[in-house]
Symmetry: C2
Protein backbone atom coordinates (compact mmCIF):
# COMPACT_ATOMS: atom_id res chain seq x y z
CA UNK A 1 0.00 0.00 0.00
CA UNK A 2 1.28 3.48 -0.83
CA UNK A 3 2.34 5.95 1.82
CA UNK A 4 -0.54 8.26 1.05
CA UNK A 5 -3.11 5.44 1.18
CA UNK A 6 -1.61 4.28 4.49
CA UNK A 7 -1.78 7.81 5.84
CA UNK A 8 -5.38 8.33 4.74
CA UNK A 9 -6.36 5.04 6.31
CA UNK A 10 -4.56 6.04 9.54
CA UNK A 11 -6.43 9.36 9.62
CA UNK A 12 -9.75 7.53 9.29
CA UNK A 13 -8.97 4.74 11.69
CA UNK A 14 -7.39 6.82 14.47
CA UNK A 15 -9.51 9.95 14.03
CA UNK A 16 -6.31 11.87 14.79
CA UNK A 17 -4.24 14.27 12.68
CA UNK A 18 -1.44 14.35 15.24
CA UNK A 19 2.07 13.42 14.15
CA UNK A 20 4.40 12.85 17.10
CA UNK A 21 7.87 14.20 16.37
CA UNK A 22 10.76 12.24 17.83
CA UNK A 23 13.62 14.68 18.56
CA UNK A 24 15.49 12.98 21.39
CA UNK A 25 17.79 15.18 23.46
CA UNK A 26 19.60 13.11 26.08
CA UNK A 27 20.18 16.17 28.25
CA UNK A 28 16.41 16.41 28.71
CA UNK A 29 15.78 12.74 29.46
CA UNK A 30 14.51 11.65 32.87
CA UNK A 31 17.33 10.82 35.28
CA UNK A 32 16.71 7.06 35.32
CA UNK A 33 17.82 6.87 31.67
CA UNK A 34 21.09 8.74 32.22
CA UNK A 35 24.15 6.88 31.07
CA UNK A 36 22.31 4.00 29.39
CA UNK A 37 23.76 3.07 26.03
CA UNK A 38 20.24 2.56 24.66
CA UNK A 39 18.77 5.66 26.29
CA UNK A 40 17.71 7.25 23.00
CA UNK A 41 15.91 4.14 21.80
CA UNK A 42 14.32 3.48 25.17
CA UNK A 43 13.09 7.04 25.59
CA UNK A 44 11.62 7.18 22.09
CA UNK A 45 10.11 3.70 22.31
CA UNK A 46 8.33 4.58 25.54
CA UNK A 47 7.06 7.82 23.96
CA UNK A 48 5.85 5.93 20.89
CA UNK A 49 4.04 3.25 22.87
CA UNK A 50 2.40 5.81 25.15
CA UNK A 51 1.29 8.20 22.40
CA UNK A 52 0.36 5.73 19.63
CA UNK A 53 -3.33 5.66 20.66
CA UNK A 54 -3.57 9.38 19.92
CA UNK A 55 -1.39 9.70 16.80
CA UNK A 56 -1.71 8.94 13.11
CA UNK A 57 2.02 9.21 12.28
CA UNK A 58 5.50 9.46 13.81
CA UNK A 59 8.33 11.69 12.62
CA UNK A 60 11.83 10.91 13.87
CA UNK A 61 14.28 13.75 13.16
CA UNK A 62 17.51 12.09 12.05
CA UNK A 63 19.85 14.87 13.21
CA UNK A 64 19.07 14.08 16.84
CA UNK A 65 20.20 10.51 16.32
CA UNK A 66 23.22 11.30 14.12
CA UNK A 67 24.61 13.83 16.61
CA UNK A 68 24.80 11.02 19.17
CA UNK A 69 26.06 8.18 16.95
CA UNK A 70 22.66 6.56 17.42
CA UNK A 71 21.86 5.32 13.91
CA UNK A 72 21.30 1.77 15.15
CA UNK A 73 18.87 3.06 17.76
CA UNK A 74 16.97 4.86 14.98
CA UNK A 75 16.82 1.64 12.96
CA UNK A 76 15.52 -0.21 16.01
CA UNK A 77 12.99 2.50 16.78
CA UNK A 78 11.46 2.49 13.30
CA UNK A 79 11.38 -1.32 13.29
CA UNK A 80 9.59 -1.15 16.65
CA UNK A 81 6.97 1.25 15.30
CA UNK A 82 6.30 -0.97 12.29
CA UNK A 83 6.10 -4.11 14.44
CA UNK A 84 4.05 -2.78 17.32
CA UNK A 85 1.98 -0.08 15.67
CA UNK A 86 1.31 -1.28 12.14
CA UNK A 87 -0.58 1.18 9.98
CA UNK A 88 0.99 4.26 11.60
CA UNK A 89 3.39 5.65 8.99
CA UNK A 90 6.90 6.84 9.82
CA UNK A 91 8.14 10.05 8.19
CA UNK A 92 11.93 10.32 8.40
CA UNK A 93 12.64 14.02 8.81
CA UNK A 94 15.97 14.39 7.01
CA UNK A 95 15.40 17.34 4.64
CA UNK A 96 17.86 15.88 2.17
CA UNK A 97 18.75 17.68 -1.05
CA UNK A 98 21.48 16.64 -3.46
CA UNK A 99 22.21 15.85 -7.11
CA UNK A 100 20.63 12.73 -8.58
CA UNK A 101 23.46 10.24 -8.02
CA UNK A 102 23.74 11.28 -4.38
CA UNK A 103 19.97 11.46 -3.92
CA UNK A 104 19.88 7.78 -4.87
CA UNK A 105 22.09 7.08 -1.86
CA UNK A 106 19.92 9.17 0.46
CA UNK A 107 16.81 7.39 -0.84
CA UNK A 108 18.48 4.09 -0.10
CA UNK A 109 19.31 5.33 3.40
CA UNK A 110 15.75 6.46 4.12
CA UNK A 111 13.78 3.65 2.54
CA UNK A 112 16.02 0.56 2.52
CA UNK A 113 18.15 1.11 5.59
CA UNK A 114 15.66 2.82 7.90
CA UNK A 115 12.48 1.48 6.25
CA UNK A 116 10.77 4.85 6.61
CA UNK A 117 7.44 5.27 4.84
CA UNK A 118 8.23 8.83 3.74
CA UNK A 119 11.11 11.30 3.87
CA UNK A 120 11.33 15.08 3.89
CA UNK A 121 13.38 16.70 1.10
CA UNK A 122 14.60 20.20 0.19
CA UNK A 123 13.57 21.66 -3.20
CA UNK A 124 16.57 23.98 -3.75
CA UNK A 125 18.27 21.54 -6.16
CA UNK A 126 15.15 21.03 -8.26
CA UNK A 127 13.19 18.09 -9.56
CA UNK A 128 16.10 15.87 -10.59
CA UNK A 129 17.17 15.89 -6.93
CA UNK A 130 13.72 14.58 -5.90
CA UNK A 131 13.13 12.06 -8.68
CA UNK A 132 15.33 9.27 -7.23
CA UNK A 133 13.07 9.02 -4.17
CA UNK A 134 10.02 8.57 -6.39
CA UNK A 135 11.50 5.35 -7.77
CA UNK A 136 10.26 3.82 -4.50
CA UNK A 137 6.63 3.77 -5.56
CA UNK A 138 5.09 2.88 -2.21
CA UNK A 139 6.95 5.68 -0.38
CA UNK A 140 6.09 9.33 0.24
CA UNK A 141 8.25 12.37 -0.41
CA UNK A 142 7.46 15.52 1.57
CA UNK A 143 8.94 18.66 -0.01
CA UNK A 144 9.86 21.70 2.08
CA UNK A 145 7.66 24.59 1.07
CA UNK A 146 7.13 27.15 3.87
CA UNK A 147 9.21 26.19 6.89
CA UNK A 148 8.23 27.08 10.45
CA UNK A 149 11.33 29.16 11.33
CA UNK A 150 11.52 32.95 11.00
CA UNK A 151 14.61 32.72 8.75
CA UNK A 152 12.56 30.73 6.27
CA UNK A 153 11.36 34.07 4.96
CA UNK A 154 14.88 34.95 3.74
CA UNK A 155 14.35 32.91 0.59
CA UNK A 156 10.82 31.54 0.76
CA UNK A 157 9.21 34.99 0.73
CA UNK A 158 11.20 36.33 -2.21
CA UNK A 159 8.93 37.61 -4.96
CA UNK A 160 8.79 35.40 -8.06
CA UNK A 161 6.69 37.14 -10.68
CA UNK A 162 4.07 38.29 -8.22
CA UNK A 163 4.06 35.38 -5.81
CA UNK A 164 6.43 34.31 -3.04
CA UNK A 165 8.90 31.53 -3.72
CA UNK A 166 7.16 29.10 -1.36
CA UNK A 167 3.97 29.37 -3.42
CA UNK A 168 5.97 28.78 -6.58
CA UNK A 169 7.37 25.63 -4.96
CA UNK A 170 3.84 24.53 -4.02
CA UNK A 171 2.74 25.03 -7.63
CA UNK A 172 5.76 23.16 -9.02
CA UNK A 173 5.10 20.28 -6.64
CA UNK A 174 1.38 20.07 -7.37
CA UNK A 175 1.39 20.78 -11.10
CA UNK A 176 4.69 19.42 -12.43
CA UNK A 177 6.53 17.19 -9.98
CA UNK A 178 3.72 15.02 -8.59
CA UNK A 179 3.24 12.77 -11.61
CA UNK A 180 3.20 9.65 -9.42
CA UNK A 181 1.04 10.99 -6.60
CA UNK A 182 3.72 10.48 -3.94
CA UNK A 183 4.34 14.08 -2.86
CA UNK A 184 3.38 16.10 0.17
CA UNK A 185 4.53 19.52 1.40
CA UNK A 186 5.93 20.97 4.61
CA UNK A 187 4.19 24.17 5.69
CA UNK A 188 4.78 25.59 9.17
CA UNK A 189 1.94 26.14 11.63
CA UNK A 190 3.59 29.41 12.57
CA UNK A 191 2.19 30.87 9.32
CA UNK A 192 -1.52 29.90 8.97
CA UNK A 193 -2.14 32.33 6.09
CA UNK A 194 0.55 30.56 4.13
CA UNK A 195 -1.01 27.19 4.91
CA UNK A 196 -4.24 28.51 3.45
CA UNK A 197 -2.48 29.79 0.31
CA UNK A 198 -0.75 26.44 -0.16
CA UNK A 199 -3.96 24.45 0.40
CA UNK A 200 -5.67 26.53 -2.30
CA UNK A 201 -2.90 25.57 -4.74
CA UNK A 202 -2.42 21.88 -4.09
CA UNK A 203 -5.86 20.29 -3.77
CA UNK A 204 -5.84 17.39 -1.33
CA UNK A 205 -2.05 16.91 -1.23
CA UNK A 206 -1.03 15.99 2.34
CA UNK A 207 0.63 18.72 4.36
CA UNK A 208 3.17 18.08 7.10
CA UNK A 209 2.70 20.96 9.51
CA UNK A 210 5.34 21.46 12.20
CA UNK A 211 5.34 24.40 14.57
CA UNK A 212 2.55 23.85 17.07
CA UNK A 213 3.60 23.33 20.68
CA UNK A 214 7.07 24.64 21.50
CA UNK A 215 7.21 26.77 18.36
CA UNK A 216 3.93 28.50 19.19
CA UNK A 217 1.74 27.83 16.14
CA UNK A 218 -2.00 28.35 16.57
CA UNK A 219 -3.99 25.10 16.34
CA UNK A 220 -7.36 26.60 15.41
CA UNK A 221 -5.93 28.76 12.63
CA UNK A 222 -3.80 25.86 11.39
CA UNK A 223 -6.69 23.42 11.15
CA UNK A 224 -9.01 25.90 9.47
CA UNK A 225 -6.36 26.75 6.92
CA UNK A 226 -5.05 23.28 6.17
CA UNK A 227 -7.99 20.85 6.32
CA UNK A 228 -9.39 19.23 3.23
CA UNK A 229 -13.13 18.83 2.58
CA UNK A 230 -13.26 15.63 4.65
CA UNK A 231 -11.46 17.27 7.57
CA UNK A 232 -8.11 15.54 7.05
CA UNK A 233 -5.11 16.31 4.79
CA UNK A 234 -2.69 17.26 7.57
CA UNK A 235 0.04 15.68 9.65
CA UNK A 236 0.14 18.23 12.45
CA UNK A 237 3.42 17.68 14.21
CA UNK A 238 4.32 18.30 17.82
CA UNK A 239 7.70 17.22 19.18
CA UNK A 240 9.08 18.95 22.24
CA UNK A 241 5.73 19.78 23.90
CA UNK A 242 4.96 16.05 23.96
CA UNK A 243 8.41 14.54 24.52
CA UNK A 244 9.30 16.78 27.42
CA UNK A 245 5.86 17.27 28.98
CA UNK A 246 7.37 16.09 32.28
CA UNK A 247 10.95 15.27 33.16
CA UNK A 248 10.55 12.45 35.68
CA UNK A 249 9.95 8.73 35.41
CA UNK A 250 6.34 9.49 34.44
CA UNK A 251 7.50 11.18 31.21
CA UNK A 252 5.66 8.67 29.01
CA UNK A 253 2.29 9.04 30.69
CA UNK A 254 2.74 12.82 30.63
CA UNK A 255 3.52 12.55 26.91
CA UNK A 256 0.36 10.49 26.42
CA UNK A 257 -1.68 13.15 28.20
CA UNK A 258 -0.12 15.87 26.04
CA UNK A 259 -0.70 13.87 22.86
CA UNK A 260 -4.33 13.20 23.74
CA UNK A 261 -4.93 16.85 24.58
CA UNK A 262 -3.30 17.95 21.31
CA UNK A 263 -5.32 15.46 19.29
CA UNK A 264 -8.50 16.70 20.96
CA UNK A 265 -7.58 20.36 20.41
CA UNK A 266 -7.04 19.63 16.73
CA UNK A 267 -10.28 17.67 16.43
CA UNK A 268 -12.25 20.48 18.04
CA UNK A 269 -11.65 22.56 14.90
CA UNK A 270 -11.87 19.92 12.15
CA UNK B 1 43.56 28.02 12.91
CA UNK B 2 40.36 28.79 11.01
CA UNK B 3 39.12 26.65 8.14
CA UNK B 4 39.71 29.40 5.62
CA UNK B 5 43.26 30.08 6.88
CA UNK B 6 43.97 26.34 6.73
CA UNK B 7 42.60 26.18 3.21
CA UNK B 8 44.62 29.18 2.03
CA UNK B 9 47.76 27.71 3.52
CA UNK B 10 47.02 24.38 1.80
CA UNK B 11 46.59 26.14 -1.54
CA UNK B 12 49.97 27.83 -1.13
CA UNK B 13 51.82 24.81 0.19
CA UNK B 14 50.47 22.23 -2.24
CA UNK B 15 50.13 24.49 -5.28
CA UNK B 16 46.95 22.55 -6.01
CA UNK B 17 43.31 23.63 -6.16
CA UNK B 18 42.10 20.05 -6.46
CA UNK B 19 39.59 18.73 -3.93
CA UNK B 20 39.24 14.95 -4.06
CA UNK B 21 35.63 13.92 -3.55
CA UNK B 22 35.07 10.68 -1.65
CA UNK B 23 31.85 9.09 -2.92
CA UNK B 24 32.41 5.38 -2.26
CA UNK B 25 30.21 2.97 -4.21
CA UNK B 26 30.96 -0.62 -3.17
CA UNK B 27 29.58 -1.96 -6.47
CA UNK B 28 32.45 -0.17 -8.25
CA UNK B 29 35.23 -1.27 -5.90
CA UNK B 30 38.02 -3.53 -7.16
CA UNK B 31 37.23 -7.23 -6.67
CA UNK B 32 39.81 -7.80 -3.94
CA UNK B 33 37.77 -5.55 -1.59
CA UNK B 34 34.49 -7.37 -2.17
CA UNK B 35 32.82 -8.60 0.97
CA UNK B 36 35.21 -6.93 3.40
CA UNK B 37 33.43 -5.27 6.33
CA UNK B 38 35.86 -2.35 6.13
CA UNK B 39 35.82 -2.08 2.33
CA UNK B 40 34.55 1.51 2.29
CA UNK B 41 37.20 2.74 4.72
CA UNK B 42 39.98 0.78 3.02
CA UNK B 43 39.05 1.98 -0.46
CA UNK B 44 38.82 5.62 0.61
CA UNK B 45 41.95 5.48 2.74
CA UNK B 46 43.96 4.11 -0.18
CA UNK B 47 42.53 6.83 -2.45
CA UNK B 48 43.39 9.51 0.12
CA UNK B 49 46.95 8.31 0.63
CA UNK B 50 47.57 8.02 -3.12
CA UNK B 51 46.06 11.38 -4.08
CA UNK B 52 47.14 13.53 -1.11
CA UNK B 53 50.30 14.76 -2.87
CA UNK B 54 48.14 16.35 -5.56
CA UNK B 55 45.22 17.68 -3.51
CA UNK B 56 44.54 20.62 -1.22
CA UNK B 57 41.32 19.26 0.31
CA UNK B 58 39.12 16.17 0.63
CA UNK B 59 35.34 16.06 0.44
CA UNK B 60 33.60 12.93 1.72
CA UNK B 61 29.94 12.77 0.69
CA UNK B 62 28.05 11.48 3.71
CA UNK B 63 25.16 9.89 1.76
CA UNK B 64 27.51 7.24 0.34
CA UNK B 65 28.44 6.20 3.87
CA UNK B 66 24.97 6.45 5.38
CA UNK B 67 23.42 4.29 2.65
CA UNK B 68 25.76 1.48 3.70
CA UNK B 69 25.60 1.88 7.49
CA UNK B 70 29.22 3.03 7.35
CA UNK B 71 29.24 5.98 9.76
CA UNK B 72 32.07 4.47 11.78
CA UNK B 73 34.13 4.06 8.62
CA UNK B 74 33.55 7.74 7.84
CA UNK B 75 34.73 8.68 11.34
CA UNK B 76 37.83 6.55 10.87
CA UNK B 77 38.49 7.99 7.42
CA UNK B 78 38.38 11.60 8.57
CA UNK B 79 40.56 10.76 11.56
CA UNK B 80 43.02 9.13 9.16
CA UNK B 81 43.14 12.23 6.95
CA UNK B 82 43.79 14.48 9.95
CA UNK B 83 46.48 12.14 11.33
CA UNK B 84 48.32 11.31 8.14
CA UNK B 85 47.75 14.41 6.04
CA UNK B 86 47.66 17.31 8.48
CA UNK B 87 46.92 20.66 6.89
CA UNK B 88 44.60 19.22 4.23
CA UNK B 89 41.09 20.29 5.25
CA UNK B 90 38.10 17.96 5.16
CA UNK B 91 34.80 19.30 3.85
CA UNK B 92 31.88 17.09 4.89
CA UNK B 93 29.44 17.23 2.01
CA UNK B 94 26.11 16.89 3.78
CA UNK B 95 24.03 19.78 2.37
CA UNK B 96 22.12 20.03 5.63
CA UNK B 97 19.30 22.51 6.09
CA UNK B 98 16.96 22.67 9.07
CA UNK B 99 15.53 24.98 11.73
CA UNK B 100 17.93 26.29 14.36
CA UNK B 101 17.41 23.71 17.09
CA UNK B 102 17.93 20.88 14.59
CA UNK B 103 20.81 22.66 12.87
CA UNK B 104 22.59 22.60 16.23
CA UNK B 105 22.41 18.82 16.12
CA UNK B 106 23.70 18.67 12.55
CA UNK B 107 26.56 21.02 13.47
CA UNK B 108 27.41 18.73 16.34
CA UNK B 109 27.36 15.77 13.94
CA UNK B 110 29.66 17.44 11.41
CA UNK B 111 32.11 19.15 13.71
CA UNK B 112 32.16 17.19 16.99
CA UNK B 113 31.38 13.68 15.82
CA UNK B 114 33.10 13.64 12.44
CA UNK B 115 35.63 16.42 13.18
CA UNK B 116 35.17 17.87 9.69
CA UNK B 117 36.79 21.25 9.02
CA UNK B 118 33.81 22.50 7.02
CA UNK B 119 30.33 21.37 6.02
CA UNK B 120 28.06 22.12 3.08
CA UNK B 121 24.62 23.57 3.89
CA UNK B 122 21.43 24.43 2.00
CA UNK B 123 20.16 28.05 2.11
CA UNK B 124 16.42 27.36 1.60
CA UNK B 125 15.66 27.75 5.33
CA UNK B 126 17.51 31.06 5.62
CA UNK B 127 20.14 32.49 7.90
CA UNK B 128 18.84 31.17 11.21
CA UNK B 129 19.34 27.65 9.81
CA UNK B 130 23.03 28.45 9.10
CA UNK B 131 23.87 30.41 12.24
CA UNK B 132 24.31 27.38 14.56
CA UNK B 133 27.24 26.13 12.46
CA UNK B 134 28.96 29.50 12.81
CA UNK B 135 29.18 29.02 16.58
CA UNK B 136 32.13 26.75 15.76
CA UNK B 137 34.50 29.62 15.00
CA UNK B 138 37.34 27.60 13.50
CA UNK B 139 35.06 25.77 11.08
CA UNK B 140 33.88 26.61 7.56
CA UNK B 141 30.33 26.63 6.22
CA UNK B 142 29.87 26.24 2.48
CA UNK B 143 26.44 27.39 1.28
CA UNK B 144 24.80 25.92 -1.83
CA UNK B 145 24.47 28.65 -4.44
CA UNK B 146 24.43 27.31 -8.01
CA UNK B 147 24.52 23.52 -7.98
CA UNK B 148 26.03 21.44 -10.79
CA UNK B 149 22.88 19.52 -11.76
CA UNK B 150 20.49 20.54 -14.53
CA UNK B 151 17.52 20.55 -12.15
CA UNK B 152 19.26 23.21 -10.10
CA UNK B 153 17.80 25.72 -12.55
CA UNK B 154 14.25 24.91 -11.39
CA UNK B 155 14.65 27.25 -8.41
CA UNK B 156 18.12 28.77 -8.67
CA UNK B 157 17.38 30.50 -11.99
CA UNK B 158 14.08 32.04 -10.91
CA UNK B 159 14.08 35.79 -11.38
CA UNK B 160 14.30 37.82 -8.17
CA UNK B 161 13.94 41.49 -9.03
CA UNK B 162 16.15 41.26 -12.10
CA UNK B 163 18.65 38.66 -10.94
CA UNK B 164 18.48 34.89 -10.61
CA UNK B 165 17.94 33.38 -7.17
CA UNK B 166 21.45 31.92 -7.00
CA UNK B 167 22.94 35.41 -7.36
CA UNK B 168 20.63 36.67 -4.64
CA UNK B 169 21.93 33.85 -2.41
CA UNK B 170 25.52 34.83 -3.27
CA UNK B 171 24.77 38.43 -2.32
CA UNK B 172 23.06 37.41 0.93
CA UNK B 173 26.01 35.20 1.85
CA UNK B 174 28.64 37.82 1.03
CA UNK B 175 26.90 40.94 2.28
CA UNK B 176 24.71 39.83 5.21
CA UNK B 177 25.47 36.33 6.43
CA UNK B 178 29.27 36.26 6.47
CA UNK B 179 29.80 38.41 9.55
CA UNK B 180 32.37 35.98 10.96
CA UNK B 181 34.26 35.26 7.73
CA UNK B 182 33.50 31.53 7.82
CA UNK B 183 31.41 31.16 4.66
CA UNK B 184 32.10 29.77 1.23
CA UNK B 185 29.77 28.95 -1.67
CA UNK B 186 29.07 25.95 -3.89
CA UNK B 187 28.96 26.81 -7.59
CA UNK B 188 28.98 24.04 -10.19
CA UNK B 189 31.68 23.80 -12.86
CA UNK B 190 28.96 22.90 -15.33
CA UNK B 191 28.02 26.60 -15.42
CA UNK B 192 31.20 28.74 -15.81
CA UNK B 193 29.26 31.93 -16.55
CA UNK B 194 27.53 31.58 -13.23
CA UNK B 195 30.88 31.04 -11.48
CA UNK B 196 32.03 34.33 -12.99
CA UNK B 197 28.87 36.13 -11.85
CA UNK B 198 29.28 34.76 -8.32
CA UNK B 199 32.98 35.64 -8.16
CA UNK B 200 32.11 39.22 -9.11
CA UNK B 201 29.70 39.38 -6.18
CA UNK B 202 31.65 37.76 -3.39
CA UNK B 203 35.23 39.04 -3.51
CA UNK B 204 37.71 36.40 -2.38
CA UNK B 205 35.20 34.10 -0.70
CA UNK B 206 36.23 30.48 -1.32
CA UNK B 207 34.19 28.58 -3.88
CA UNK B 208 33.64 24.84 -3.80
CA UNK B 209 33.25 23.85 -7.44
CA UNK B 210 31.96 20.35 -8.20
CA UNK B 211 31.16 19.15 -11.68
CA UNK B 212 34.46 18.57 -13.49
CA UNK B 213 35.28 15.01 -14.46
CA UNK B 214 32.25 12.73 -14.63
CA UNK B 215 29.81 15.65 -14.74
CA UNK B 216 31.60 17.22 -17.72
CA UNK B 217 32.48 20.72 -16.48
CA UNK B 218 35.17 22.58 -18.46
CA UNK B 219 38.38 23.12 -16.46
CA UNK B 220 39.73 26.11 -18.40
CA UNK B 221 36.46 28.01 -18.26
CA UNK B 222 36.03 27.14 -14.58
CA UNK B 223 39.47 28.36 -13.57
CA UNK B 224 39.21 31.57 -15.56
CA UNK B 225 35.83 32.32 -14.03
CA UNK B 226 36.54 31.38 -10.45
CA UNK B 227 40.13 32.33 -9.63
CA UNK B 228 40.97 35.20 -7.36
CA UNK B 229 43.75 37.71 -8.07
CA UNK B 230 46.38 35.38 -6.60
CA UNK B 231 45.17 32.42 -8.67
CA UNK B 232 43.46 30.57 -5.82
CA UNK B 233 39.98 30.88 -4.26
CA UNK B 234 38.63 27.54 -5.48
CA UNK B 235 38.23 23.99 -4.26
CA UNK B 236 37.73 22.30 -7.63
CA UNK B 237 36.23 18.92 -6.87
CA UNK B 238 36.51 15.71 -8.80
CA UNK B 239 35.08 12.48 -7.37
CA UNK B 240 34.18 9.68 -9.73
CA UNK B 241 36.81 10.41 -12.42
CA UNK B 242 39.49 9.93 -9.76
CA UNK B 243 37.95 7.20 -7.59
CA UNK B 244 37.09 4.92 -10.47
CA UNK B 245 39.94 5.71 -12.86
CA UNK B 246 40.66 1.99 -12.96
CA UNK B 247 38.77 -0.94 -11.47
CA UNK B 248 41.57 -3.37 -10.62
CA UNK B 249 43.99 -3.70 -7.72
CA UNK B 250 45.90 -0.71 -9.16
CA UNK B 251 42.93 1.60 -8.50
CA UNK B 252 44.91 3.80 -6.10
CA UNK B 253 47.84 4.42 -8.43
CA UNK B 254 45.37 5.11 -11.25
CA UNK B 255 43.60 7.57 -8.94
CA UNK B 256 46.93 9.24 -8.19
CA UNK B 257 47.59 9.59 -11.92
CA UNK B 258 44.14 11.07 -12.47
CA UNK B 259 44.54 13.46 -9.53
CA UNK B 260 47.97 14.63 -10.74
CA UNK B 261 46.66 15.16 -14.26
CA UNK B 262 43.66 17.10 -12.96
CA UNK B 263 45.83 19.26 -10.71
CA UNK B 264 48.10 20.00 -13.68
CA UNK B 265 45.18 20.76 -15.98
CA UNK B 266 43.86 23.23 -13.40
CA UNK B 267 47.27 24.80 -12.87
CA UNK B 268 47.76 25.30 -16.61
CA UNK B 269 45.01 27.95 -16.51
CA UNK B 270 45.66 29.65 -13.16
Amino acid sequence: MSFIATLERAWQRTQSLLCVGLDPEPSRFPPHLTGRADAIFTFCRDIVDATAPYASAFKPQIAYFAAHRAEEQLEALIAHIHARHPGLPVVLDAKRGDIGSTAQQYAREAFERYCADAVTVNPYLGFDSIEPYLAYRDKGVIVLCRTSNQGGSDLQFLDIGGQPLYQHVAALAAEQWNTSGQLGLVVGATFPKEIDAVRQRVGTMPLLIPGIGAQGGDIEATVHAGRTADGTGMMINSSRAILYARSGEDFASAAADAARATRDAINAYR
